[in-house]
């Protein structure tokens, strides 16, 4: 369990995030990043961050953390939580060519999470150019 996601400390807002991994080939990684960015920019009500970036064989792994909202919002199916589910469904449907699948979010200290953090640079969307660069440079494994 990633402690950064479920806060058990009194006074903190307990939230939950869902990990969604896109697995494009190296050649299509930049296109996927661009497409993802366009979907995320369309509705900025749902908190999304790039949680992991890695490469395995001929595939890039782009992991997004999509915020379902606070535990209270999730319990009562608040509009923000429902919007998050809708966004997930949209990404899974529209980007089905890139095998989107639910995954556990990588640990914040892992190389793929650190690489993702480096690329995010304070923006909420995926930076296509950097992803494309990483597609060529990220070591296998």
């Amino acid at each position: 369990m990633n402690d950064l996601r479920i806060h058990e400390y009194a006074g903190l807002h307990r939230t939950i995030e869902i990990g969604l991994r896109l697995a494009p080939t190296l050649a299509s990684a930049a296109a996927v990043a661009k497409a993802t960015a366009s979907y995320l920019d369309r509705d900025d009500a749902v908190p999304v961050r790039l949680a992991g970036l890695s490469r395995e064989g001929s595939r890039m792994h782009i992991t997004l953390a999509i915020g379902l909202g606070s535990i209270d919002d999730v319990k009562v199916a608040a509009p923000s939580s429902r919007a998050a589910v809708l966004l997930l469904e949209t990404l899974v449907t529209e980007l089905s060519a890139y095998d989107p699948s639910l995954v556990a979010l990588p640990d914040a200290a892992s190389p793929e999470a650190r690489r993702a953090t480096a690329h995010t640079r304070g923006t909420r969307t995926v930076e296509p150019a950097l992803v494309a660069a990483d597609a060529a440079l990220v070591p296998v494994g």
């Binding site: 869902i18 064989g57 535990i71 608040a78 589910v85 809708l86 997930l88 989107p100 699948s101 639910l102």
Partner: protein, 378 residues
Amino acid sequence: MTEEAEVGEVVPDDSIVTATNRLGRKVPNLVVRGMDEREIFAQAPLLDCDRVHWDTIDDFDPQVLLADLPMDAYTRRWSDGQHRVWVPKGRGFEARELIKEWCLERRVEAVNMRVEQQVPFRDLDKIPGTLFQELVAAAVDWIYPRTYTIRRRIVADLDLVEDQDVRSMMYLFISDHAARYDADRIGRNGTLNFTAFILGKLRTWPQDAARTAYGRNVVGDRVALNRLADRFIADEQRLPTEGELAEGMNTSVTDLRRREQAISELSSMRNYQSLVGGSIDSDQYDQVQVASEETVEGDVTAYTRNAMVTKAILEAVSGPNAPRSRRAQDPLALAAVYLSFWEGLSRPEVARELDVLPKTVAAALTRVMGQMEQADLS
């Protein structure tokens, strides 16, 4: 129906403390034609007996041998077709030898003749008219609507038994067991009434019926395999592999397969879920399924399969039957599934994280898994 009993609490007269230390209510005494069940059973007093029971290859009525036994003896026909003779306590083995001789002389082929000592018995023929039959019918009327799970198990476990057969089967079951009802036995909550006695017997009815139909070993194996599978599902949210099952059963994989085949072939139990991957005839049958230490992420089919599972889950939590514009998303179900299967939390842990009751989590998981099953992805 039940609540926690507190220490030192005064229990009202109509309440009982159950075996699990909870408060429950006594089941009512049955009344037939204005007569209480105790008055009816008093007409067939309880006897302390030994019982001889056996089977025969051909049809046989044990009533014909009673006159030749030098002791008081009773018989009563049971729905399972086995023959039973009750004799005074302490004379069971003597009666068995006499019955054996009697059968030999008359060339009646007796099978598996055995004695059970000190069993209660009532000669229910002494109850006049149709009082006893009406009493059993009244017991069925009271018990039948309150034993849904038991009825479902009977239908699920036994071939050729349908829902509409269970009521008459229950009548026969109660009629069979009524002869051993001991109304005077005093337990923790006073004397046991007839309905409570039968409810106790009914708890093992499906298992006993399956044993009678398919044999003790097959049913015992099935129960043990189900327990193992339940344990793995509860602890690890997955079914056990063949290797793990074999280890749990203290046997080899080859023997496990033989037993599983016996279960599926002999019983054809309708709800039996084969734990052998693929069909018996498939090529994969010869492969041993063991837990792999290697990651299967590299498998070329893994991406596609994971994507299909993800799509099915999101469809399940998005109100799959409604048009897209009117869908009612269920974030709680998604969170429950995600925490269970991707974060590896147990149900109680998920409930604690989401600040809901475990049964709410269970219901959400069941909903999603049901959709997955329909999509053939579970």
